[in-house]
């Protein structure tokens, strides 16, 4: 049936018009996106450079920021051409990377176990719920007292919030699995380990990944906060010194870079998710 349809001229035409429509839709999306950016930059440009509104008087305008950013010889010492710029990015990326991987390696198994086993949940969850609402910044003194050097406290703070977000969502994921699936697997002879590895883990995976997205967001959030408190490199440090040294264009460079790098890391997670959750992608209509 499919083969017959494919060779039919009407079907070919239909398919062509479908691709065209898809391309048009993608084009429209990009246009909207560019328009959004253009508006934001126009606002920035008008408020700072043209109207010079009082509240914006101390801020650098887009022209100043971008000429600094693309300058081989930047006035304030940081641009695309200086190795320092990449050194900051690399430090932040490495810290987030280590903290995020640790949070995932510890948070996902713990969360799944909490969701799967009532016993584990009863032991761990109350403590978990007590610690979770404490903001990462409240841990700063403890982090500094516990860990020596500059790197480990920063990584610890970045790890904390990410860990809680990951564990909580993994637990919810494991608990959200349709009990009839678990019953069916049991009935078909699956032992506990098989049940966990083949039913609970894949069944929880969509929620685990939404947890990872949240976790990554809070990891960046706490990283920048931690880097502002301590550290010698990193985008948070860059933004903070930009303020204290009054090199204002550098603040903007740091902020925009943070946005772009943060976005790219979340894209990486999404790509991994797509690769792992193929069954969710070509599902048509879903289960009733």
């Amino acid at each position: 049936m499919g083969d017959v349809m494919q060779n039919h001229p009407a079907a070919t035409a239909a398919r062509k018009s479908r691709t065209l429509r898809a391309q048009a839709a993608a084009g429209a999306r990009i246009a909207q996106l560019l328009l959004g950016f253009a508006c934001a930059f126009l606002f920035w440009y008008l408020t700072v450079d043209v109207w010079q509104l009082p509240r914006f008087a101390n801020l650098p305008g887009p022209s100043e920021v971008f000429s600094e950013w693309f300058s081989p010889d930047p006035i304030y010492g940081l641009s695309f051409y200086t190795p320092d710029y990449y050194w900051h990015i690399l430090h932040s990326l490495a810290r987030v990377g280590v903290a995020f991987v640790l949070a995932t390696l510890l948070g996902v198994p713990l969360g799944l176990l909490m969701g799967w086993s009532q016993r584990v949940r009863e032991y761990v969850f109350p403590l978990f719920e007590l610690l979770r609402p404490i903001p990462p910044l409240a841990w700063v003194p403890l982090a500094i007292l516990m860990f020596h050097g500059t790197e480990t406290p920063v990584i610890f703070l970045t790890f904390l919030a990410a860990f809680f977000a990951t564990a909580l969502n993994s637990m919810l994921g494991a608990r959200s699995i349709d009990p009839s699936l678990i019953r069916a697997a049991r009935c078909l002879g699956a032992g506990e380990w098989r049940l966990f590895s083949r039913i609970v883990v894949p069944g929880a995976l969509p929620q685990v990944f939404s947890g990872l997205q949240i976790s990554l967001g809070v990891a960046w959030f706490s990283l920048v906060a931690a880097e502002m408190v301590s550290g010698e490199y990193g985008l948070g440090y860059l933004i903070n010194t930009g303020y204290s040294m009054a090199t204002y264009p550098t603040i903007f460079i740091g902020m925009i870079t943070l946005g772009v790098v943060g976005y790219l890391t979340s894209v990486v997670i999404r790509l991994i998710e797509h690769a792992l959750l193929r069954w969710g992608n070509d599902e048509q209509g879903g289960r009733s």
């Binding site: 009935c187 002879g189 069954w279 969710g280 209509g285 289960r287």
Partner: protein, 294 residues
């Protein structure tokens, strides 16, 4: 390949002696104190090996509860359930169940779903794979082997679940309203499919339904259940050869008699749900209905 399938079918037919099921003085209820409801009360029956027994009863009477007891998900308050002389202590692969709700694993491709029981017990060899392939072809799922269940229609999902249960060669096959919620056309096709699959395998099966025509189309034996608390009120043997069709059943005198008998037994239970004046109205409606069947 064809030979292989035939020998498999022959060996399956040889196993028809498995699955002798006895339900003895069974009691089950839910809740405590004032909330307590007795769902099954002194229920007794036997399932003959190699026969398709259809259990029919008003909805809410306790059929699914009984199915869960048989599957081993629930433990009875009193009484015993035996399969081939052994007590049912918990879920086991000798009894497989197909529910009204789909219980396919959405993250496994259809073939993996069908193989799940064999994979779980580490019995999957080339022979098992071939059998799954043959069975999937038989029920029209051959092209969907490497697709995910989400891409299947409701009727296809139900067929895949049957394949998954059948490849495990359960001694007792329990189906709890498996075709409920399917549209009329698909439902008829599924009934024909199922009757055919049963004829080829002849494994002991308990099929639960609320639909009289479905019962008549499929059953070797019909158990009519009372309303809650549930027990067997009538046992009717349907000795009409398969394949049966709805059209054929309308003409067949034996079938008409059986239908009237089942309807009457079911009616006398259903009417208990009505009270006072509405009972008289329901009774009048029932008389009219009987006229049309005779």
């Amino acid at each position: 390949m064809t030979n292989h399938v035939e020998t498999q079918d022959a060996s399956v037919a040889g196993e028809a002696t498995r699955g002798f099921t006895e339900i003895l003085a069974l009691y089950h209820g839910f809740g405590r104190g004032a909330q307590r409801i007795e769902v099954i009360e002194n229920c007794e029956f036997k399932l003959k090996p190699g026969k398709l027994t259809v259990m029919i009863g008003p909805s809410g009477c306790g059929k699914s509860t009984l199915a869960k007891l048989l599957a081993g998900y629930l433990h009875p308050d009193e009484g015993s359930l035996l399969i081939d002389g052994r007590h049912i202590a918990g879920p086991g692969k000798d009894r497989l169940m197909v529910f009204q709700e789909s219980a396919l694993f959405p993250w496994m491709v259809n073939e993996e779903n069908a193989l799940y029981g064999l994979l779980a017990s580490g019995q999957v060899g080339a022979g098992a794979r071939q059998r799954v392939t043959a069975l999937m072809d038989r029920v029209g799922l051959g092209r969907f082997r490497h697709k995910y269940p989400g891409a299947l229609s409701g009727g296809m999902q139900r067929r895949l679940e049957m394949v998954r249960a059948l490849v495990n060669e359960p001694a007792l096959f329990i189906l709890d309203e498996p075709f409920r919620g399917l549209d009329a056309m698909t439902r008829t096709l599924m009934q024909e499919h199922f009757a055919q699959m049963f004829e080829e395998g002849r494994r002991t099966a308990l099929f639960i339904t609320t639909d009289i025509d479905e019962a008549l189309l499929l059953a070797d034996e019909i158990l009519v259940m009372s309303s809650r608390p549930m027990k067997v009120t009538r046992r009717i043997t349907v000795d009409v050869p398969r394949p049966r069709t709805v059209a054929g059943m309308i003409k067949d005198e034996r079938m008409k008699h059986i239908k009237v008998a089942v309807t009457k037994a079911l009616y006398s239970e259903a009417i208990k749900a009505f009270d006072g004046s509405s009972r008289a109205v329901a009774a009048a409606g029932f008389e009219k209905f009987l006229d049309t069947t005779q």
